[in-house]
């Protein structure tokens, strides 16, 4: 039982408002978004900030929803699971996400993230319009617009990491910060 307290303390130290581990479903996201909206109302967050956090949260969580199923069917029982945590320290919101990814998909994702991270505000705007208008639409989502949108709205570089689990899969984590300044 000591472990439970340790997890609690760890979350307390990191100012976690809300955390979840498991399968990310559409209904779960509806509930989480509702909870976060209520919390931000309780904090009397400014409408501008509230919108920014909400928008970024939608993109982060829907990323998990769409990409959780990229792991091969045979392993899904164990791996169709993700984690996210939302923290708040004064006016800084932090969104952590983690999900499994096939090693073969890492380089493509890494290239996209690095490309987004190399761009300034104006370049991101141009790139967003280019991807929006290129006609490609994945069934899963915005066809690569999510990360560009997150970078535009937060005004920060996207902090990411791939932790290799074995020769087939890795664990992909994102750490997104949303603050008032941007």
């Amino acid at each position: 039982m000591k472990e439970v307290f340790e997890i609690y303390e760890k979350m307390e130290r990191n100012n976690i408002l809300l955390s979840f581990k498991g399968e990310v479903t559409s209904d779960l996201l509806t509930s989480i978004l509702q909870i976060m909206e209520n919390k931000m109302d309780d904090f009397q967050e400014e409408p501008k900030m509230k919108k920014k956090v909400y928008n970024v949260l939608v993109e982060c969580l829907q990323n998990l929803y769409h990409h959780m199923d990229e792991v091969p069917e045979a392993r899904r029982d164990k791996l169709k699971s993700a984690i996210f945590m939302i923290g708040k320290l004064e006016s800084l919101y932090t969104i952590f996400t983690g999900n499994y990814i096939l090693n073969e998909n890492i380089s493509g994702l890494k290239n996209r993230l690095d490309k987004v991270n190399s761009m300034n505000k104006e370049e991101l705007k141009v790139y967003y319009k280019e991807v929006l208008n290129n006609g490609e639409m994945s069934l899963k989502g915005g066809g690569g617009l999510g990360m560009i949108d997150i970078a535009r709205k937060t005004g920060e570089k996207i902090d990411y990491n791939f932790l290799e689990i074995n020769d087939k899969i890795s664990f992909f984590t994102l750490n997104i910060k949303v603050s008032q300044q941007n």
Partner: protein, 126 residues
């Protein structure tokens, strides 16, 4: 032709399309996980409308939030409107944004830069 109407939900906007008056309204939030499924009926309705469009078509978009998955679908809707505009119905898109919502204004300007239809940016007081 029947009018087209969809009630809003926590993740999808309300849509009303008055075919006689030539007025399309999209209002609320657009953050569904599967946007293609949600927007396909509207794109189909616009296809039908394009064969019997009114001399003028007014489009009011007033979104509180939209996700990137919706953004491509909204572009598809606007592209349909662009071809209706070319086909002889004078289309105007009124893009509404709340006073402090620069991100939403910027999103409207992004569409304005891509789509060849007159846009009006309309500020809404909260």
């Amino acid at each position: 032709m029947d009018n087209y109407k969809i009630e809003g939900s926590p993740k999808t906007p309300s849509i009303t399309f008055d075919l006689q008056g030539g007025v399309l309204e999209i209002k609320g939030r657009s953050i569904p996980e599967n946007s293609i499924e949600f927007y396909k009926p509207l794109v189909d309705a616009l296809d039908k409308y394009s064969t019997a469009s009114k001399p003028a078509t007014t489009v009011n978009v007033q979104l509180e939030y939209f996700n990137t998955s919706s953004s491509k679908c909204i572009l598809d809707v606007f592209k349909k409107l662009e071809s209706i505009h070319k086909g002889g119905s004078a289309v105007t898109i009124n893009w509404h944004y709340e006073e402090d919502d620069e991100d939403m204004l910027e999103a409207g300007e992004d569409y304005q830069a891509i789509i060849n239809v007159p846009f009006k940016m309309v500020m809404v007081n909260e």
